[in-house]
Symmetry: C2
């Protein structure tokens, strides 16, 4: 086994270190030279591209179009919506000057004090403010509505503690911003986009999620309701994987976006916004991978099948090349992403370990004897099971197997999630058990005080009021002893 692999910390030893090492060793990303930022490497970016393409197609099916708004936002825009500025002011990168000049006192360059901006600009932490200031020009009548726009871009939120993909100062994401003529339509859109996220997570990331609505404390700054999908990592912690916000008329009002409605009256436009980010990469990695490295869902794997010949002589290699190139071609015809690796500067054992580390779903290996006997060895990454099969017809088998693997890793994650959701209405029990991870379905009195106390005493937070859970007779709040208003999911989270 290759050296790199031996070095990968086991999950059971230190889950957090395992993750950090895996991201780097699998060549997904690394720390950049700028504090808190990351470099996304080719293999990581190839996964992100598939996420983008798949999700983008799903957005477009719902009528969404892409646009691009500037990354710099006048400082004053941020203050227009009171809660919004509260939420983001503390983590804004601020542009104050627009020129450098040669250092008069020595080497290098310095900021040119003559090039100070009249009003500082911030790098977008999210774009509601600049977009709604523009929507003012685009929206006049109910006939102009809805606007269903999205952008794929970078954003910046100055973070003190960062982790690759999970929390970085700069990250890549999409942000959808819609404007509607009625409250109902906006609320429906916010929920619709959450469903798109949940479907995408399930079908592509093989990620089961809990859908629900955030508590007031955990809402997006400026939202009336924040809907969320929450995934469970292998350590039982929650990872908020996507959010969709019903913004009411807050931004419409803050930016004066009024329209003439069907009743011929002036009304503020209704808004939603919704986003997922490169954080999804973190969810993907942490949910499925194992002590040997990444396990990638076939629908997103940049390489779905790797084919490796094993040979001693050039003559053997030549024969193997001929047969294996046929298989490669057949797989490609089926739209499967294949890599044929007959490089002679690496031993097969090294290649095997490397493709395991990189999470390639299916490995095909053929040696001289296989060729004679018409067989081929197949290894599936999710279970690490090997089998030898007839080479004839292997393409059909692989095509089906890829779907089976996609299903299997989803089911495995779903079983894990289901097995780690506990009902709990005793705070002492909760305090003990929450340390081991899992989602706890608990009665909550709906007060911010109780919520704060739970967070302070257990580092766990209310993840959401989950959909599909009966809210009738929620019982007694486990902390305050007051009548509960909701059953909520509580967990420690990334």
């Amino acid at each position: 086994m290759a050296k790199e692999l031996k070095d990968l910390t086991k999950r059971s030893v230190d889950y957090s270190r395992w993750y950090n090492e895996l991201v780097v060793k699998a060549e997904l990303a690394e720390q950049a030279d700028v504090r808190g930022c990351m470099v996304i490497k080719p293999y990581g970016y190839a996964i992100w591209e598939r996420i983008q393409q798949s999700l983008d197609a799903m957005f477009k099916e719902t009528g969404v179009q892409n646009v691009y708004f500037p990354m710099l936002i006048p400082k004053s825009f941020l203050s227009r919506e009171a809660e919004h500025v509260e939420g983001f002011a503390k983590e804004c990168a601020v542009v104050t000057h627009y020129r450098l000049k040669a250092n008069p006192d020595g080497d290098g360059v310095v900021v040119d004090p003559a090039a100070k901006l009249e009003e500082e600009l911030i790098i977008r932490p999210t774009s509601e403010t600049t977009i709604w200031n523009t929507y003012k020009k685009w929206i006049h009548s109910w006939r102009d509505l809805p606007l269903l726009y999205n952008q794929w871009c970078n954003v910046m939120r100055w973070e003190m503690r960062t982790r690759l993909f999970l929390r970085t100062s700069e990250f890549l994401w999409q942000e959808g911003h819609t404007a509607h003529a009625t409250k109902q339509e906006a609320e429906e859109r916010a929920k619709q986009m959450l469903k798109v996220y949940a479907d995408f997570a399930e079908k592509y990331l093989a990620l089961p999620v809990v859908q629900g609505v955030k508590s007031e404390t955990e809402r997006f700054a400026g939202a009336l309701d924040t809907y969320t999908i929450e995934a469970m990592m292998q350590d039982g912690k929650a990872l908020q994987s996507g959010t969709s916000h019903f913004l009411g008329q807050n931004f419409g009002r803050a930016f004066g976006v009024q329209f003439v409605n069907k009743e011929n009256q002036l009304e503020y436009a209704w808004a939603t916004s919704w986003g997922v980010s490169t954080r999804l990469m973190g969810a993907l990695i942490m949910t499925h991978s194992d002590d040997n490295g990444l396990v990638l869902p076939p629908h997103l794997a940049p390489i779905q099948v790797v084919i490796v010949p094993i040979y001693k002589t050039d003559e053997d290699l030549e024969k193997l090349n001929t047969r294996l190139r046929e298989i490669e071609t057949e797989l490609r015809k089926r739209g499967i992403r294949v890599k044929y690796d007959n490089a002679d500067n690496k031993r097969p054992g090294f290649k095997f370990a490397d493709y395991e580390l990189k999470g390639v779903p299916v490995r095909l290996v053929m040696g001289a004897r296989d060729l004679e006997e018409g067989t081929i060895e197949l290894m599936r990454r999710d279970t690490l099971e090997k089998e030898t099969r007839a080479a004839e017809g292997i393409e059909d088998y692989v095509e089906k197997l890829l779907e089976e693997i996609q299903q299997n890793i989803y089911c495995k994650a779903k079983t894990f999630l289901d097995e780690h959701i506990y009902e709990c209405s005793d705070y002492e029990e909760f305090k003990t058990r929450v340390k081991d991870g899992g989602f706890f379905l608990c009665p909550w009195d709906g007060t911010a005080e109780t919520e704060a106390r739970i967070k302070e005493e257990t580092q766990a937070t209310i993840r959401c009021v989950p959909f599909g859970v009966s809210q009738e007779n929620p019982g007694t709040d486990m902390v305050s002893g007051q009548p509960a208003k909701y059953r909520v999911l509580i967990a420690r989270a990334y």
Copy 2:
């Protein structure tokens, strides 16, 4: 004809105003609230997405992979390469703080002076410096080479005079950054990527270009050679549409990127970089469009065919819907992007003018009488020609016609380009004629002095030493009277 169209300034009246108006009226982009930046609207972004997808596929065919590097660059990185800092320092947006706080003296937020960065960060104007500082960690041996990476991202160059798409402070682009073990390989890659740009321009943008190499004055800051594609706009001015740079060992040396070569000796890595930007949108618009609006090449048009029914009664509409939806479906099956517009809140005349303005290549119109007679009216946007044809089999005809239109607008632009390249070796003649536009093939003595004088006296610049033009006996420099070193193309440019 719709009001908007009547308002479009004619090219012959004011070409520059025509362009500015067209970009806004066709809803491609508009000025943002932040000085010098733009909002790219859905229709404009849909074209940019097609540019991205097509070009990205061409990059990948040459072995290039996508990555993502941070948008912020430590100020000191910029100074490492002497010419580079010279070229970019004057237009850098500078981040100096990372937090805002409530204004102690009143409303809103102010920059928190306690959150001053130790070292200022600049928003990337281009990413050679940060990428090469990272390549240092990735390159140790010739076995690590080549690196063939590209990123699609936003960049910022503070511009004083901006124009939508052509010159904006923030713009979208791709920047490729490759590292090689040999000078020859790097030079070949730089030329290869220029050819990719030229092929892309021809096949997708229908844009004929002149390929060549820049004079030393016009080179990218830090390059040994800058290759360029130059397009000609309808006013005869040049638009630099893409550049590819051979950077030699400049960045390898500046950032200490050394590797052990095949001879087991330490050597600095060889570099290229290459980019095209949203400026291509400007080239696309200015090259083909006319007084009625955009003319889009079918390969990039978001809507390739629009179908409009003309009806008086609901009964007519119903029948037309049935027939036209069949045609729509058939066209879609062929992979053609179709819009069926039977909206009843706009008159046909308005629709026609709007789709002309938006440059939809083919329009199909059917009325009740057409339906009876089995005919359909077809209009092609490039020539504005109308014809009535049998509706049966129209799909095959349209499929071929789209290719014909693509060819036709390319040929038209190519003829225009060819007819406006003049040989000229008399400076007085040049000074008179250059005002009317066109590319002038002139003998040049190769000195920066002559180049500067031409620029000062005529506002024209040396666009390139064009490939495929004989450089034997270039004659006598038309300005200095000295023996010429090259035949160069000179033109006024955007």
